[in-house]
Symmetry: C2
Subunit: 202 residues, 2 copies
DNA sequence: TCGGTCACATACACAGTGTATGTGGATAGA
DNA sequence: TCTATCCACATACACTGTGTATGTGACCGA
């Protein structure tokens, strides 16, 4: 925002960035419950005081980590989906980008596994609303408006359906050992494509 | 097992049953993290000592609650599905029974919302393997063997897909206010049926 | 009736979060 | 350049909740 930054501001931002980075790594590796703020602070070479200075608490820290992951992921997906003008083609491109992203262990674990357990379903959904869920909603609305899908059910139900279908893929990939991931990724891609086609109007 | 029971055994069983019942209610209402063993004990008119006597810990208590819910639910679904001999019809009957069950707030919240957050994804999946996941697997295998579905993808992927599709329905219903539940239930029923048909071979 | 056992209570140790307060170095004004 | 202020962070402490070790009284078989 403000162009000129004092030394203090720079240090402060560096500390916050370090906290976010270390927290991301620790949460991704040991899970939310398995990571204490003490560990995050130590890894960042500060004390818990710094954590509480920059974040309202453990949950807030995790939310910040989550949002950073989602922001990046959704940008990647949106950019991939922009490779086609037709909503149907665009959705398929977005799907592939999403599946690719889920092969990144940090993303998969943080968003699909730790997310709900850390924040509780409700809060997690609220966070996702802005990212994954929101993106899915835009795709679905695009498909409906373009006439590829008939909105036999309410849009909300359709979006949720798509969201959980993708979530299933994400969680499956997260749990799959690295070696099998390409194969499993492909299977989900096929299965979801077949599903989308199956629901296609006429 | 042993026909004759001493007074002590009877008391003990009653206490354990009370703990399970109160824990079910409390976990369902305030969530796993929001419920302390102190509250469970107090509601059961005992102390935490009793809880630790009957269960290895908080997580073990929750698992017991979960298993009781799942056992009952899966019996109901199996019994409903037995109303048809054809695998396809049987699966549809099972689906309806499942959706009905998810309209029970306790089942939905405990199994689909609190389950993963309480036990962590991994352990939760292990528990579900025996119940919901296992049931879905049997249905899917039935459909494949009867030739309704071609097993283009590995069975595992197909089962997971179905599992999360149903999970999405369960979570959606759990979050839906009581008044809208019949409508939403119906929408999911339609959507899932269309999906199953869409994936049907030929 | 007496010793053992079982169901549960009591007491304590410990980890982790959150909060209130302290401190030193950077910054702005004189 | 001296000083007052402020900010980033450290330190210290309170509290909640889990888990564990130990105590105790009712029951039960011999």
């Amino acid at each position: 925002m403000s162009g000129v930054k004092s030394r203090r501001e720079l240090y402060s931002e560096a500390t916050k960035a370090a906290l976010l980075e270390e927290a991301t790594a620790l949460f991704a590796e040991h899970g939310y419950a398995g990571t204490s703020l003490e560990q995050v602070a130590a890894a960042s070479q500060v004390t818990r005081g710094a954590v509480y200075h920059h974040f309202a608490g453990k949950q807030a820290l995790f939310e910040a980590v989550l949002e950073a992951q989602e922001k990046l992921a959704m940008e990647e997906i949106a950019s991939a989906a922009a490779g086609a003008t037709d909503p149907w083609e665009s959705a398929l491109l977005g799907l592939d980008a999403f599946l690719d992203k889920c092969c990144d262990p940090a993303y998969g674990r943080l968003v699909w596994q730790e997310g709900p357990t850390a924040l509780g379903w409700h809060r997690w959904r609220e966070c996702e609303q802005e990212y994954a869920y929101g993106v899915v909603e835009r795709f679905v609305r695009g498909l409906i408006e373009a006439g590829y899908w008939r909105a036999a059910e309410s849009v909300d139900t359709t979006v949720r359906f798509a969201f959980w279908m993708l979530g299933g893929a994400g969680m499956a990939l997260t749990e799959t050992p690295e070696a099998d991931r390409p194969r499993v990724r492909d299977e989900w891609s096929q299965l979801i494509r077949r599903t989308l086609s199956g629901l296609r109007s006429q």
